[in-house]
Amino acid sequence: MTALAARIGGISWTSPRTIGVVGIVLGAFGFWLALPPLAARTAALPLLFGILAIAAGIWTWSRDERRVGGGAIASGLLGLAFGILATQSSTGHLSTVVVWSALIAATLRYATPLTFAAIGGLYCERSGVVNVALEGMLLTGAFFGIWGAIWAHSWAGGAAWVIGLLIAALAGMALAAIHAIWSVSLKVDQIISGTALNFLALGITGYIFIDKYGNSGTPGNVPDYGIPDVHLHFLSNWYFIGPILGQLNLMIWLSFVLLIATYIFVFRTPYGLRLRAVGEHPRAADTVGISVYRIRYIAVIASGAIAAMGGAYISLGFVHSFSENMTAGTGFIGLAALVFGKWRPFPTWGATLLFGFSSALADRLPDAYGNQWGTLFQALPYVLTLVAVAGVIGRSIGPAASGRPYEKQ
């Protein structure tokens, strides 16, 4: 707490950076005013705050804080545009879309596979191996998770999802093992290796899916033995929190555990120290007797297991079926979240929530505005990721040895 106070005390209120951040907040605030529960009906408010945000952004930009300034300008423009759109919509429509508790719960649902992907990527990239194969690992997990559960259903009954999850993790590890051999031992360009694995995952899952389930798709009774929701009945009457936390999937709770465990592992244990050392300066780690190759192998394979469990959540805990290429870029958004969060667990989680929120919003829009606009809004998470990549990631500096194969002397 004192640390926080000291930090706040240390803020220079007139520095361009602070003004820029205030601008970003103002832009978002202008949009928020136009939404329920306040649902301001005048376009003047978002207009006012949007312009203030843009002004702050331009000022910041001109003071050479381009990234923050650009962020404020973007925030102002978006807040202004969406804010005015919202004031032009009927309150009824808005209320259909913006049910905050439902939106937040949906945000968590959409953010969870991203979190698993990003945290998986965190281990891999912290060890100095770039992982663009997260997408393929998710997809592999999604298919083999549901395949394992269907296969185990006859003898494991309702607990078949445990088997599914295990098989998903194993499949993800197998795919990751190829990435490890290729990028660590054979020293192939890690982006090319990852891209190849994405195709392999797409082809293999599609192939077996069609071969096994053909045109009829996965069986309809998957929900019976999918990953269960956790019902917290004592919460159900709590205002606001009840609808959010009362009925979340087990994997969402697991993602919270994963986040905390990852934080402790990476920043509070000797193994995490070694992992980071290998990613930053492999030769330094090597000269004190740490096996760079071993750590990289373990990290890459672990990342496969974690990302695949995120994929299994999609098929086995969320959608309850599988379709070809169903992850649709989720792995890449997870990767962007990781970079956005500067390779740290909690900021990364924050980024996944942001992307998750945009998916949740896109998901709810058709209810009020018809399929047409809803379809267009499906592009929102991708556009947002693009904006994030443009605004922040450019400056975000990852593990120093990331992407470079280590050559032993």
Partner: protein, 416 residues
């Protein structure tokens, strides 16, 4: 100093900002020419062998399957030499020709070449960016952007003369692709955002925008409100067909445009100052900057030109044989990604991309639902088999087999 050291220095180019190594680092191979072809050929053999194992695993005979796929490609057309009459394109005259231009195999070959056309162009989209040290995974989105614009402009001006309408459609498609890729190039050039993430995001954005445009009540949905498909483009916007029947998707002159683009690509890269700059930036941005070359400008230009190739591919597909876009076609189209594999397999050289594109064109057409007999192998399985082979190709071509082979030989010589 020692040989070993020199070699290491040769391989190591500095990574760009953000710590991600440039892909060209890997392809900065001095094994050009014949030696450079060894790796890709071995790669293809490995990929097909592994693909055969997958088929075997499904309980089918891989030789039978591959044979059927081969016959579907129409390449067997060349084997049936005889004495035939062939119509000279765009005239009513006939002349003697050693192959039967109207056989079923000829029809298959036309299909293969139609697909090859767009693979060449999406392949060039990857290759050009690659030469500038960037990995353009956005060929798919750029291809789609080109196709959308081609449909929009192609359906817009009914009755326009082909001399205006065709160039309009084709150029607009190329520009649309260039604009989309230009965003990624600009982001890389100005804020250093990595193009792999940005182009993937642009791909999905393009997909959803297309779903919106051509979906129910979408702005480009056709005159039948119950189906989410655009109208056909005007007759004047269609590319002339010079082999086969236009009604049966004969081969349009698009293939010549693609082949011309291969030459243009080779010219730009090897014979112009722009290509010189692009290659210098791709190999070593720092040295290029020191040499007075604007790195940012080249990142942007290379991406835009790359996107132009892909967009042109999309436009040629629309103007050449597809004529419309259906909402359901958009997410299943994978041409841009196949171009990626073709570029890597072709080692980003003009000739290599051309040959690799033909290979993938054969593979895709041979495994398509129209060509492949379901009793031999299910086409939808075969489609995934193509994706697997594609993945294997990228996986093994990345290994630089030619380089490994030379290294092994040298080590053996050293040991003796």
């Amino acid at each position: 100093m020692t040989d070993e050291l020199r070699e290491e220095e040769f391989e190591a180019a500095p990574p760009p900002e953000g710590g991600v190594p440039s892909p060209s680092q890997h392809f900065a191979s001095r094994f050009g020419g014949i030696a450079g072809a060894i790796g890709p050929i071995v790669t293809v053999i490995i990929a097909f062998f592994a693909g055969g194992l997958v088929v075997l695993f499904t309980g089918k005979n891989p030789f039978k399957v591959y044979h059927a796929v081969f016959n579907g490609t129409g390449i067997n057309w060349f084997f049936h030499v005889g004495s035939y009459q062939a119509r000279i394109p765009f005239s009513t005259h006939k002349m003697w020709f050693p192959w039967d231009t109207a056989s079923i195999a000829a029809g298959n070959l036309q299909q293969t070449l139609l697909i090859t056309t767009s693979i060449i162009l999406t392949g060039l989209a990857v290759a050009f960016a690659f030469r500038c040290g960037m990995f353009n995974i956005g060929g798919q989105g750029q291809y789609l952007a080109g196709a959308y614009f081609a449909v929009w402009l192609g359906t817009s001006f009914q009755g326009l003369t082909p001399w205006v309408h065709v160039p309009l459609v084709v150029v607009a498609g190329a520009l649309a692709g260039a604009a989309l890729a230009g965003i990624a190039g600009l982001l890389r050039a100005t804020v250093g955002a990595h193009e792999v993430i940005s182009t993937i995001m642009l791909n999905w954005t393009a997909v959803w925008v297309g779903e919106y445009l051509f979906g129910q009540q979408g702005p480009l949905q056709g005159s039948n409100p119950s189906v989410p498909i655009s109208d056909n483009i005007a007759e004047g916007a269609k590319l002339p067909v010079f082999w086969g029947l236009a009604l049966l998707q004969g081969l349009s002159i698009g293939i010549f445009i693609a082949l011309a683009m291969l030459v243009v690509y080779w010219l730009i890269i090897n014979r112009t100052t722009l290509g010189f700059e692009v290659r210098a930036v791709g190999f070593n941005p720092e040295a290029a900057r020191y040499g007075g070359i604007s790195v940012a400008r080249n990142y942007f230009l290379a991406m835009a030109i790359a996107g132009g190739f892909a967009g042109l591919g999309g436009a040629l597909d629309i103007a050449g044989w597809q004529f419309n876009i259906g909402q359901n076609d958009i997410p299943v189209n994978q041409i841009g990604f196949i171009g990626l594999a073709a570029a890597l397999l072709g080692r980003n050289t003009a000739l290599g991309v051309g040959l690799a594109s033909l290979l993938f064109g054969c593979l895709i057409n041979g495994t398509s639902g129209r060509q492949l007999d379901p009793s031999i192998f299910r086409p939808d399985l075969a489609g995934n088999l193509t994706t697997i082979i594609q993945g294997l190709v990228i996986l093994f071509v990345g290994l630089n087999l030619g380089g490994i082979w030379v290294a092994i030989k040298r080590r053996a010589r050293r040991a003796s």
